[in-house]
Symmetry: C2
Subunit: 136 residues, 2 copies
């Protein structure tokens, strides 16, 4: 059911500073990209086998603000796995007693693909995102 | 300088429970492996492009105990990148003003290869491990 790790999302209080640091240690960093519907500005850091998504709050209602209030230096926010069938994944994971955030129905994520988030309290403290893989 | 993401390390308070959950959602899970010199029992979860290392405390002095005291449900502990030259990485990253944990000299990590850990306060809240890649 689980495909590759799509990304590790890291919330940072200083996007320019984080971009500069990752760039200086040799990572390939994208330009910042605003996603107003998700309340974040995103920067992708591409590695050989996966990527980091740096998350920075965009707007007053950004869901990242409360995370940064609890973690002022920043921190790892979630990890995301690709799955073949997001609806089947939702049924399977829910059937194991893991709650899904929100309505429990897939919604468009930061890449425009349907995603689901499992409740971290039911996943050993890790916020896990499942993202529909692009059909090949 | 940065090679692939070698692993995401996740500390869990219930190793058998985490192994069961990841197994049930289709991940390939290794048997537990005790590393007394690091104070952890480790389980590897292999994905198509990288792996998760589940960390569980081993012994009274395990460095994972204080992390779990702060994060009772568990949580993402660190991420690890492979590098070509651990000594050059240490010099480069230190030269950017990032402190290294411990003596600052590479020590054998969980895979027996030399590793360094950068201070999370200097890395936007993320504990980053650099691991010497196996020479090819």
């Amino acid at each position: 059911m689980l495909g590759p790790l799509n990304h590790i999302a890291i919330a940072v209080p200083d996007l320019a500073g984080a971009v500069a640091l990752y760039g200086k240690i040799g990572a390939m960093v994208s330009p910042p990209h605003d996603l107003p519907e998700h309340g974040v500005t995103v920067v992708f850091i591409q590695f050989l086998n996966t990527k980091i998504e740096l998350l920075y709050p965009l707007g007053e209602d950004s869901p990242i603000r409360s995370f940064l209030a609890k973690n002022p230096s920043g921190g790892i926010h979630h990890i995301c796995f690709e799955v073949d069938d997001i609806h089947a994944t939702g049924r399977k994971v829910s059937g194991l007693g893991v709650r899904m955030l929100g309505s429990g129905n897939p919604k468009a994520g930061a890449h425009g693909l349907p995603v689901l988030f499992a409740h971290p309290a039911d996943f050993f403290g890790t916020l896990v995102e499942f993202e529909q893989a692009i059909a090949t």
